[in-house]
């Protein structure tokens, strides 16, 4: 009995000792941390959330963060990256918590606006306007979709346009040229289809893909002022006949067999593969994807914007595309430092590096130029700059509930299980509910 007691006492003593020393060590660490912080002045930690966790992209951000930290030894950046689809959910959750990132990625338009509406985003108008160098370095088309009620809430990081990319080998083989009119475009599709080649690769597993088509069709078929009124959650009605027509144009492409089989179960990446393999003649992609296309097609491709639609009531010289960028949380404890970091992210120096290493289009004036960017990117940017305006992605430009109705409807449309009129009926219904709920 005695031994047992002694033994258990020893065990308890050892356990206690390990706990105490464990804590003690931690305490020591904390102390040394504090010491080093004192040496470096007041240490500030900024949380940074973006949507490019892919290794090749992360490399760029790691470098930018490192450079920033070297220039600002008192600021430490805690970076986190979440991919494109999940960040849509993640942002909604963290923005409601006390654990908000100080600087975070956001799409422009309604996606950003819903955070602005509830007061989660820092107004950076003063900082931006008082710094003329910063102010003049960024394209107005990039700033505007981050401006709400005359106040600037975010900085554009990339500026994106949507283009048809085509396989020049295939086009030459069938004597096809860049289409000038909508009819040309339909003829090209028909020729390719008859030759046994899928005219357009579409991967609509995540339905934003078809939604980008609809973004363009809506813009081209509905007058600008009507569309803007409808995209505003407070006044959206969607009664203009152009909306139904826009869906009919998309349905036409599908019904004529111009898309690959199984669009709704094909991912966008798989659509890329179909195009690279020469199984599809064209694919509708964003400017930022040009670098990827070049990597796989090395010069055997070219691009064009969706041609004008003769019966369309919208401005035919618009381009589909939008900037995306970064915003600062209104709850940040270090607004000065956060603005400093934001400024660094969209500085010319960082932007040039972005263009050079990732081949992404930057809204920083002069960042994309002949010396640092491949030809296709320069040309794409020119097309963007010459456009008379931009149609922001439909799924990030309308209220989320309207967007969700559209997104689900598009898959049904491509399956043939819902008609354009049915979908618009649902959209109108949703828009009505949204009107009553938004304040």
């Amino acid at each position: 009995m005695m031994f047992k007691k002694i033994f258990s006492l020893i065990v308890i003593a050892v356990l206690l000792a390990s706990i105490i020393t464990g804590c003690g060590q931690k305490g020591n660490n904390a102390q040394t941390d504090e010491n080093s912080q004192k040496n470096a002045g007041e240490q500030v930690v900024l949380k940074f959330l973006h949507k490019w966790p892919q290794p090749q992209n992360m490399e760029y951000f790691e470098q930018i963060v490192k450079e920033f930290e070297e220039k600002h030894p008192n600021i430490k950046i805690e970076m986190e990256a979440v991919a494109d689809e999940p960040i849509k959910d993640k942002l909604r959750i963290v923005m409601g918590s006390d654990d908000q990132p100080d600087v975070f990625f956001s799409w422009s338009g309604e996606f950003a606006r819903k955070f602005v509406r509830v007061g989660s985003v820092l107004d950076i108008t003063d900082a931006f306007n008082s710094d003329s160098e910063w102010n003049n370095s960024i394209m107005k088309a990039g700033i505007e979709p981050f401006t709400f009620d005359g106040k600037v809430y975010g900085m554009p990081f990339r500026i994106n346009g949507k283009f048809f990319v085509y396989n020049t080998d295939l086009f030459e083989r069938y004597n096809l040229k860049k289409p000038q009119t909508w009819q040309d475009f339909m003829d090209i599709c028909e020729t390719l289809k008859k030759a046994g080649i899928t005219p357009i690769a579409l991967g609509n597993q995540f339905p934003w893909a078809a939604c980008h088509y609809l973004t363009t069709f809506n813009q081209k078929l509905v007058p600008q002022d009507v569309r803007m009124k409808d995209y505003n959650p407070k006044t959206g009605e969607f009664t203009h006949p152009g909306y139904v027509k826009a869906l009919e144009y998309l349905k036409l492409l599908k019904d004529k067999g111009y898309f690959n089989d199984g669009v709704n179960s094909t991912s966008h990446d798989m659509a890329h593969q179909l195009f690279y393999a020469g199984k599809a003649g064209m694919i509708y992609v964003e400017l930022e994807e040009f670098a990827q296309v070049e990597e796989n097609m090395s010069g055997r491709w070219d691009f064009f914007a969706m041609p004008a639609i003769p019966e369309g009531e919208g401005n035919q010289k618009f381009l589909t595309g939008a900037p995306d960028g970064f915003m600062i949380s209104a709850k940040t404890k270090h607004p000065q430092e956060a603005i400093e970091f934001l400024k660094f992210l969209v500085s010319k120096e960082s932007a040039e590096k972005l263009v050079k290493t990732l081949g992404w289009p930057s809204p920083v004036i002069g960042a994309v130029n002949e010396t640092n960017a491949p030809k296709f990117l320069v040309e794409g940017m020119k097309a963007l700059e010459s456009a008379e305006g931009m149609a922001l992605w439909l799924d990030t430009d309308v209220h989320i509930k309207v967007a969700e109705t559209y997104l689900a409807g598009l898959q049904e449309l491509l399956n043939g299980s819902k008609s354009p009129e049915d979908i618009m009926k649902e959209v109108r219904q949703t828009a009505k509910t949204v009107q009553s709920e938004v304040d």
């Binding site: 959910d89 409601g96 709704n264 798989m270 969700e404 299980s417």
Partner: protein, 304 residues
């Protein structure tokens, strides 16, 4: 049997209620804080219109429940969950039991280890991996399902399994069967191995054939396990999320939506936390009633 502890100790220990409660206390607190408190709070939340990122809550009363029962997507989801439950019962519990019984047959004993591993292995693969894997298998351009159908001359039946509203939910359910039948089978194997061999001997002497032995000896003897398995498959079917989310995300349209994915969509895409809470409450009621019924019907413990 004599209790291992000496009488004096035993009485003391069992009489000391305070001690017993002290030991129970941490577990009770955990359950209260992490299960019951949120469950009650959830009901409260379902009465408000609010989004995850806004601090404002607007009282709407029973509005979301009214809307839910008029919402066609809710019925699609409910139907899909019911399909999930019925098909899982037939395949996982039904076939799982049959396969287990066959593997326990004398002539199969030699190969049992091999088949056990083969059938069980899908259950250990991560759900996301399984989802991506089957996306490729079902793919209409490069997938092997369609290629196989064409090979054996059934090309007419080849289709866009996950991309068509008619087949998407069944394609997803099929994957779950592939993944979990083996798991349930293992549970039955264990149960069957516990059946005393004398029962089979007695049945043999009475002249029962294999089928009669299965229905009159095996099935009644594993009744408890059948109850456990039906409960976990049915509750699982109503809570299913990952499989659907990874493979179709509820699409195309809303055709393969289940309650859990609809809840997720409402909460984190449509910014309607209140509506999501209402859906969560309905899922709670359904699973609660189902497990209650099952336990009552089988009168568990009484026959064991």
């Amino acid at each position: 049997m004599r209790h291992p502890l000496q009488g004096e100790y035993r009485v003391k220990m069992y009489a000391d209620r305070r001690l017993a409660y002290t030991y129970l206390f941490p577990a009770v607190i955990l359950v209260l804080v992490f299960i019951y408190y949120p469950a009650v709070l959830n009901i409260f939340y379902s009465l408000y219109r609010w989004s995850a990122f806004s601090e404002k809550k607007i009282y709407v009363g029973m509005h979301y429940y009214n809307r839910l029962f008029k919402d066609p997507v809710f019925y699609v989801a409910l139907k899909n969950n019911a399909l999930y439950a019925v098909i899982s019962l037939v395949f996982q519990v039904g076939f799982g039991l049959i396969i287990a019984a066959i593997l326990e047959e004398k002539f199969m004993r030699k190969f049992q280890a091999f088949f056990r591993t083969v059938y069980f292995s899908p259950a250990v693969i991560s759900l996301t991996v399984v989802g991506l894997l089957w996306q490729l298998i079902y793919n209409s351009n490069i997938g092997i399902v369609n290629a196989f159908l064409k090979l054996i001359g059934l090309g007419n039946y080849a289709q866009d399994w996950l991309g068509s509203s008619k087949t998407a939910i069944f394609a997803v359910i099929a994957v779950s069967q592939w993944q979990y039948t083996g798991y349930i089978m293992i549970l039955f194997l264990v149960a069957i191995q516990k059946i005393p061999y004398e029962l089979y001997e007695a049945a043999m002497i009475d002249g029962a054939n294999r089928l009669q032995m299965f229905f009159n000896v095996t099935v009644p003897q594993v009744k408890e396990m059948i109850l456990v398995c039906t409960t976990i498959t049915i509750i699982g079917a109503f809570k299913v999320f990952d499989e659907v989310y990874v493979m179709t995300a509820g699409g195309p349209g809303r055709s393969s939506e289940v309650l859990a994915t609809y809840l997720y969509r409402s909460a984190f895409r449509n910014d309607e936390m209140g509506y999501a809470a209402a859906i969560a409450f309905v899922i709670f009621v359904i699973t609660f009633v189902l497990s209650f019924l099952q336990i009552k019907l089988f009168r568990t413990g009484a026959d064991a």
